[in-house]
């Protein structure tokens, strides 16, 4: 599978390697039985990921995934699986898109938001594991970042409201959180986040 084009490939060599030979793919014949499953994205938005984790002794013992999406979506989920396996739940919960992207040797700017969803699917899987086992979830708020300082609105709050469908428009979001009604400096950032989450979670 190689051609003698003179130019570089669309993405980095690491992305190409993961795209061509993805790691820890969830194959039917594996009979993998995860104890936590998370899913983000939708077929309509062009990217969807499902992550299954096998947690043992507070660690990600095994992880398998499925992805519908572009090359960078496939590669970034594959890279996430390499990073996450062996981590404690605490560490795994704090994997960021930047960590994945850096490990891949970089991604084009416009791919960073729409295709690096593996970390979110993994968090959803950890949430699912803790919920199923009726365990407390100490991580959920630990990664929140304050976006609107006047009204104390975090990115996690915005994510939750979009994910649950409570905030379908920016107006909904403002009514629910009051963001941007103080100094108004956060408006552009909230708008960007809102668009990103809409893209990821809208069905």
């Amino acid at each position: 599978m190689s051609n003698s084009f003179m130019s570089n490939w669309v993405y980095t060599p690491i992305v190409k390697e993961h795209f061509m030979n993805p790691h820890h793919l969830w194959k039917e014949e594996d009979n993998f039985e995860p104890n936590g499953i998370g899913e983000v994205g939708s077929l309509a938005c062009g990217d969807q990921m499902r992550v299954g984790i096998l947690v043992k002794d507070d660690k990600i013992k095994d992880l398998k995934w499925l992805t519908y999406g572009c090359a960078s979506a496939i590669a970034s989920t594959s890279m996430m699986s390499d990073i996450a396996i062996g981590m404690t739940l605490d560490q795994a919960y704090h994997i960021t898109p930047t960590m994945i992207t850096e490990a891949l040797g970089g991604l084009p700017e416009h791919k960073f938001h729409c295709s690096v969803l593996g970390d979110k699917a993994l968090r959803a899987a950890i949430d699912d594991y803790l919920e199923k086992n009726k365990m407390p979830n100490p991580y959920k708020n630990s990664i929140a970042k304050i976006i609107c300082e006047c009204k104390n609105v975090t990115d996690m709050q915005i994510e939750e409201l979009v994910k649950s469908g409570k905030a379908k428009t920016l107006e909904d979001l403002q009514q629910l959180t009051g963001y941007g009604t103080g100094c108004g400096k956060c408006k552009a950032q909230v708008q960007d986040l809102f668009e990103d989450f809409k893209h990821i979670y809208s069905k």
């Binding site: 599978m1 190689s2 051609n3 003698s4 669309v10 795209f19 061509m20 993805p22 793919l25 194959k27 039917e28 899913e39 077929l43 309509a44 938005c45 062009g46 990217d47 969807q48 990921m49 499902r50 499925l66 992805t67 519908y68 999406g69 572009c70 090359a71 960078s72 979506a73 496939i74 416009h110 791919k111 729409c114 295709s115 893209h199």
Partner: protein
């Protein structure tokens, strides 16, 4: 392994024909400025006039109606600019432009821009096959319409529009008719005078000519004002030193297109059908997008969707096998939305994300088709197994 390349992106651009390469190469001796009075200038001018006749003959118009420029994007912008000026200058009571939702970006984006500025523009919808409904188009006509602009054949679905009928509708209400015939040239007959087009755009690189050269043909009594000012070239209609070599090239490409039209049409259609049948048999649940009636579709275009496999991934796996195609997926466009042409044609958003366009050209063979039919099924199977659904 083998370094085979199967180029199936001919609606994107084409390889120059050998005859064109030769002619462009020889044009290096025509380096005189075609606007100069000296011998080298006159030689260049003479070569340009030969090319003008060749293009005019291909599209059925008089030699003097051809304006050479940088390509169809410039042609399309020029036409819309003419009517923007006319509306601004209140030449008559006509203040509206009618076009469609599936035009090339050089029109779609111009329309967006003009609408933002307050101009009245209606975009006619298309049906499931990507074709304009003449009844809907007729309803959009009126005494206030200045220009009707509809492409001859679509670049993505290959759907051919009823442009002759639309030209009649436009003229019946006193409007001018423009068609962007870029994708149709060399594939189906295009006849400016017979069809009654007032303006016609085309690009050299879509039919084995050089890139960066195109034509706007303007009917005798149609209004015109230059888009680029500042030179007396083309009778002052388009400024800028003549790109002599490229113009010679588009002339030769036009002659080839005219000579081979019938043969090429049938050959492209056969290759397209061979691939469509082959892939439909080899891959479960595929969807063919666009028109099915052979009369309504450009012969070399095949747009297909592969549910549960995403377009950019398909494109890149095919590329690793040396098969070059394009996709309507959002991922490949750098935006979050998949192809507006497919969405406007009522194609489901998931199918649009998984769409692949194969477009055949003069240099494709049945062997190419067999190669794709061999390489593609495992790619789709692989992506489907990897997919969340």
């Amino acid at each position: 392994m083998d370094n085979r390349i199967v180029y199936l992106d001919n609606n994107g651009t084409t390889q120059m024909a050998d005859e064109v390469v030769k002619a462009v190469d020889q044009a290096e001796f025509l380096y005189g400025n075609a606007s100069s009075m000296h011998g080298l200038g006159r030689d260049a001018e003479a070569a340009i006039e030969v090319a003008r006749t060749q293009v005019a003959s291909l599209i059925d118009c008089k030699h003097g109606r051809i304006i050479f420029n940088s390509g169809a994007s410039e042609s399309n912008n020029t036409v819309f600019n003419i009517f923007r000026d006319r509306i601004d200058d209140k030449i008559d009571a006509r203040t509206r432009i009618v076009t469609t939702v599936i035009e090339h970006p050089s029109i779609i984006e111009t329309v967006k821009y003009l609408k933002k500025k307050g101009y009245r523009i209606d975009e006619c919808p298309v049906d499931k096959t990507g074709r304009v409904d003449l009844d809907v188009m007729a309803k959009l006509m009126g005494p206030d319409v200045a220009l009707v602009s509809v492409m001859t054949g679509n670049n993505e679905t290959g759907t051919i529009q009823p442009v002759d009928e639309i030209a009649r509708l436009a003229h019946a209400c006193g409007a001018y008719m423009h068609t962007d015939a870029t994708q149709a040239i060399g594939k189906i007959p295009v006849a400016m005078e017979k069809s009654g087009f007032d303006y016609l755009s085309l690009s050299g690189h879509k039919f084995y000519g050089p890139k960066g050269v195109g034509v706007l043909a303007v009917a005798k009594n149609a209004p015109y004002c230059p888009f680029l000012h500042g030179g007396h070239q083309e009778q002052g209609l388009r400024a800028g030193t003549y790109n002599t070599a490229a113009i010679v090239g588009i002339g030769v490409a036009s002659s080839l297109a005219q000579r081979d039209l019938k043969v090429e049409h049938d050959r492209l259609w056969n290759l397209r059908e061979m691939l469509r049948k082959g892939l439909t048999e080899a891959i479960p649940s595929v969807v063919v997008n666009g028109a099915t009636n052979p009369e309504y579709i450009l012969p070399g275009t095949l747009d297909m969707s592969f549910p549960s496999a995403e377009g950019e991934s398909i494109l890149l796996y095919l590329d690793l096998e040396g098969i070059e195609v394009s996709t309507g997926s959002a991922c490949a466009s750098g935006s979050l939305e998949p192809s507006y042409v497919l969405l406007a044609s009522g194609i489901d958003i998931e199918l649009a994300h998984g769409s692949i366009r194969f477009s055949f050209g003069r240099y494709n063979t049945e062997d190419d088709v067999r190669y794709v039919i061999e390489k593609m099924p495992p790619i789709i199977e692989r992506l489907r197994k990897m997919s969340t659904r």
